[in-house]
Amino acid sequence: MKLHVLYFARLRERFGVAEEALEFGGATAAELVAQLQARGGVWAEELAAGRTFRVAVNQEVVALDAALPEHAEVAIFPPVTGG
């Protein structure tokens, strides 16, 4: 399926990319994270088990076992620090 993936804040800076179109063969948010980790380097480092980040699907934060719908807007970002 095709996904539109966004990165914010520290992750956007470390990955050097704000958004990308991705072809994704899996089903869940966890599988997408695994696909990104497999790129190695900062991707493997920032998305490693034990690192804290959030995943939002179509602008709502979801658990990692959430299924991703076709053409979803998926965002990966650090815990929020506004206010």
């Binding site: 966004l6 914010f8 804040a9 520290r10 800076e13 804290t52 939002a56 602008q59 709502e60 934060v61 965002a75 970002f77 650090p78 815990p79 929020v80 620090t81 506004g82 206010g83």
Partner: protein
């Protein structure tokens, strides 16, 4: 209900006046203004830049306000959050809640701020004498928001 994400400054007095203008059923307006501090984690902060997730931010803030409306009898809510580069002393966020009585207004104002801190997609990056750094989320903010889950 009014929810704004903007780079411009806001005027607390004007916002409160706009809530109560033309109506006589409001008995209480509680407001909170968060400001940019000049010190964090033991070092000076010369400026900060607030990044957000356009689209999700507005939805997340609307959801917080809906949750507050479901918990308390509120007459009006205004939330304004600034983005972009801010200097120490600059206002960052305004929450104002109108109700018939002060109890609901105080409680809902604190609830909205506690949830905003942990759920609205904003991120702060600070400029310090040692360089720039992304602010880390604080466990105390998670604890403050969690209090409302039990009550």
């Amino acid at each position: 209900m009014k929810i704004l994400v903007q780079s411009e400054d806001f005027d607390l007095g004007a916002e409160v006046a706009a809530m109560s203008g033309g109506r006589t059923d409001i008995g209480a307006i509680a407001s909170f203004v968060g400001l940019a501090r000049d010190m964090n984690e033991g070092s000076g902060v010369q400026a900060m830049t607030l990044e957000h997730y356009p689209g999700m931010t507005e939805k997340a803030l609307a959801t917080l306000v809906e949750e507050a409306n479901a918990r308390w009898a509120l007459l009006d809510v205004t939330v304004i959050h600034r983005v972009g580069r801010l200097l120490p002393g600059d206002p960052i966020v305004l929450v104002a809640v109108a109700s018939s009585h002060r109890g609901e207004a105080f409680a809902a104002c604190e609830f909205i701020m506690d949830y905003l801190k942990t759920r609205a997609p904003f991120w702060k990056k600070e400029e310090t004498p040692d360089g720039t750094r992304w602010v880390d989320a604080r466990a105390s903010d998670d604890a403050a928001a969690a209090r409302w889950d039990q009550s």
